[in-house]
Symmetry: C2
């Protein structure tokens, strides 16, 4: 089969690799229908994170089950499935507690599991899915083609935006600020509206993203950043400020911006992968009771409830994909995101 | 009147100072019945925090209203009142949102208000109370003398322990670990039991504090600290671990210990004043969804509900006072806490 391999900065290649096989009775093989490129894939692509040796890449996919191991009972060949970006065994304490992202046998797509076995990257034609029953979620019927992008968004960005909102306790009537206008930030806007927020300020400089933010439910847009952005949000929201701020970038600057617009006693829900190891300013947090909640999103936990809303048409997170290419053009899928010509690229094998 | 003045390291003096007067129509004058020494008072006493010039000290008190300004309607002369350690105006957005600790006109005992006026320290015979209606809470009748310590504990330590528990979302059935066995840590144990926690692990090395922790509801005691303490807690709680960890010290080591025993997806509720500006390790927090909530406790907000439980006898946080002295012996009240001969010292003018 063909699979995407990252070799180093700006060097991503589609290569011939061995077809995956069922290694364990809990495995499934899934034929990928659609995959995509994540903002975090760009870290390796840009060389921000080193690539000491070539590695499979991609962690978001929907597909059709091709084969299942003898112990798999939850999905059957032929079913359309969504896979979460992080894989758990479904049985450890952390999985039972809703955090498969901390599974004691957890593994990421493109990585090696607890016994050293390769788990395929998602930007490929086929993948072996460990602990298939715990990870795959099947749709009731084979979905219409126009639903594919929104279903694919459930494998990461929509669940991640939702996690930011849940972590920040967004609820009916909340006033929310979203820092970051990438796919996750936009999904955080959508998740906030879904949870009943009545005022949603999107911090975004790009007209196309501002438009999508408004479509997703943003009531206000602030284009400024840093101190000017903080001042603009405060001017907009007045003395009460924002009780929930969703940090969807992961830099020191974006986290500081998030903390600076949170009202005393409020919550920062953060899902931006911390880049470069910024630490959190506990003195500022302590003095104003600024709470920081979130982390790597347990999207598998949220999949059933979000799937229901995608299937009903209540939410359409697939709108974040503004570029669709064949898998053969994976290089352009990366380049377009890297050069900010696309919010998020979808590829079809 | 006599008031306590901190001059520098180990130099705390009871001095003759002017009686406070009603400066504004929203002020009250309160005659102090009991005050106490806080762990945070020791920072100045020990020289950890510099004392550039002599200053009034003490921020916890109960007393009797002597006089009120023309605009005060909530308390009357002769009433017994509890004062919170931080004073707000009661009307700004932050006060209305339950965080008078972030009041735009907020002031601490012993400090200077937004117009530069001195606010007396609580370790004194009399105090002027700004915004009396917003800050003072009167008891329905004059309390029995044996209730005084528990009522005094509501001015800070019990409300602060409660804030740690509320911030960490302690609820019926919770498994809780409390880091710190000072008066606040012990109150955090009591607050956890009050909120229905069924397993409460107190981390404490001192036999007298271990005993009080058990009396307050601790089901387990771990005497080890640091890595050994973390291992002991993990051994004790097994794979599920602690969903709520209450950090009641404020050092980098204690916060790290708290994070290290929190289960993925769990909450650290922290109320230990961050000493020396430790930052928070966002990478560890992100990877395991360790949420950090809390800060300077809005004890005024919690006063009514906690007062009801003190008056009914449901809780007796005054047990944390194991030394009672006349105000004239304020020096010994500090020394006993500094030398760990007392958990917490109560003084009566």
């Amino acid at each position: 089969m063909r699979a995407t391999v990252l070799h180093g900065p700006k060097d991503v290649r589609l290569e011939q690799v061995p077809d995956p096989i069922l290694h364990r009775p809990t495995d499934a093989i899934v034929r990928v229908i659609a995959a995509c490129v994540c903002g975090s894939d760009l870290w390796g692509y840009r060389g921000v994170r080193p690539t000491p040796e070539p590695r499979r890449i991609g962690h978001e996919l929907v597909g059709v089950v091709e084969a299942v191991g003898a112990d798999v009972v939850g999905v059957r060949p032929g079913e359309f499935v969504i896979a979460p970006f992080a894989l758990g065994d479904g049985t450890c304490a952390n999985c039972r507690n809703g955090f498969p992202t901390s599974c004691v046998h957890g593994v990421m797509w493109g990585g090696r599991d607890h016994e050293g076995l390769l788990v395929d990257g998602a930007q490929a034609e086929l993948v072996r899915v460990p602990f298939a029953d715990a990870n795959l979620v099947a749709t009731p019927t084979y979905p219409a083609d126009e639903l594919i992008p929104s279903l694919l968004a459930l494998s990461d960005v929509m669940g991640t935006g939702h996690h930011a909102a849940v972590s920040a306790r967004v609820h009916a009537g909340s006033t929310v600020v979203v820092v970051g206008d990438g796919a996750v930030g936009l999904c955080a806007v959508l998740a906030s509206r879904r949870l009943g927020a009545t005022r949603i300020v999107a911090m975004s400089r790009h007209p196309d993203r501002q438009r999508l933010a408004r479509e997703f439910g943003a009531t206000d847009v602030v284009a400024e950043r840093g101190a000017a952005g903080v001042a603009a949000v405060r001017e907009l929201l007045g003395a009460d400020g924002a009780e929930a701020v969703l940090e969807c970038v992961g830099t020191r600057e974006s986290m500081q911006q998030a903390l600076d617009v949170t009202r005393p006693g409020g919550y920062v829900g953060y899902v931006g992968v911390p880049a470069g190891g910024p630490e959190l300013p506990v003195g500022q947090m302590f003095g104003a009771n600024l709470n920081v909640a979130g982390g790597i999103a347990p999207v598998r936990t949220y999949l059933p409830e979000l799937l229901a809303d995608v299937l009903s048409g209540a939410i359409n997170p697939g709108r974040v994909f503004d570029l669709e290419l064949p898998l053969a053009d994976i290089g352009e899928a990366y380049a377009a995101m890297d050069e900010r010509r696309a919010i998020k690229s979808l590829v079809r094998p």
